[in-house]
């Protein structure tokens, strides 16, 4: 579900830097709409990044992560052409997985 993520992964001197942009509303559940009704919370709770089969990052988000979340991190290893796979899950149970080749 949702729109595709934008994943960039670049290896340099034996370290791979990963940058991820995710399309998600990240509603806090504390905002009111024009009619005064609370807009229900809707946000990514978990995100996992893998290099091939190996988990390189697992994160938990609260609702205060910005709309359209951005994440950058680095791990040792990773060669050009190998895959980085990112998955997220939100509080409504929606999930999405995208991948990118290391450049």
């Amino acid at each position: 579900m949702g729109n595709p993520m934008k994943i960039r992964a670049a290896s340099k001197d034996g370290v791979t830097e990963v940058k991820v942009l995710i399309s998600h509303e990240m509603e806090t559940g504390q905002r009111k709409d024009a009619a005064g009704a609370i807009v229900p919370a809707w946000f990514i709770t978990e995100l996992t990044a893998k290099h091939g089969d190996k988990v390189v990052l697992s994160s938990e988000f609260g609702s205060s992560v910005s709309k359209n979340p951005y994440l950058a991190f680095k791990f040792k290893g990773g060669a050009k052409g190998e895959k980085v796979i990112v998955s997220w899950k939100d509080n409504k149970g929606d999930t999405r997985t995208d991948e990118a080749a290391i450049g």
Partner: protein, 155 residues
């Protein structure tokens, strides 16, 4: 609604209770997952959040850094990160003292992943931002104030 609640309350087992709550729309399926640290994300104060993370009272460390600019043109998107030169960092987290819930995000770093994570968070107002780091099983912390400004028009 009342009937549903009574049924939920009568059912004994925890798992069934969660299932019922989810079915009734009281909690959403993602919320019911055991691995997301609900207690930590629901905590309001810094102290309660640290307790829920099992961090107790972390020592201040010069080897931990809150990264990102000192000022944000808009609180909806504040670039912030955690970096540390401490050995064997297995977890980092970002906490914002004056947000309704202090914990913004936490990251488990397997061996080989550097203690350097950047993200973007929402801040309701100018606040101290804390970087929490678990190194060799012990917790350390650093802080800096990030100012949130009110904008004019957006160019």
């Amino acid at each position: 609604m009342n009937n549903q609640r009574r049924t939920v309350l009568k059912s004994g087992s925890g798992a069934a209770l969660l299932g019922m709550l989810a079915a009734a729309g009281i909690i959403t399926p993602g919320m019911a997952l055991a691995d997301w640290n609900k207690a930590a994300f629901d905590a309001k104060s810094m102290a309660d959040t640290l307790k829920a993370l099992g961090a107790g009272q972390p020592a201040d460390s010069k080897d931990v850094q809150v990264t990102g600019p000192d000022i944000a043109e808009n609180g909806a998107v504040v670039p912030v990160g955690v970096a540390s030169t401490l050995p064997n960092v297995s977890m980092v987290a970002i906490l914002i003292e004056k947000n309704p819930n202090a914990l913004a995000a936490s990251f488990v770093l397997p061996e080989g992943t550097e203690a350097n994570v950047q993200t973007r968070v929402k801040m309701g107002q100018t606040s101290n931002v804390y970087a929490l780091v678990k190194s060799d099983g012990k917790f350390f912390m650093a802080t800096k104030e990030i100012k949130v400004t009110l904008g004019g028009c957006g160019g």
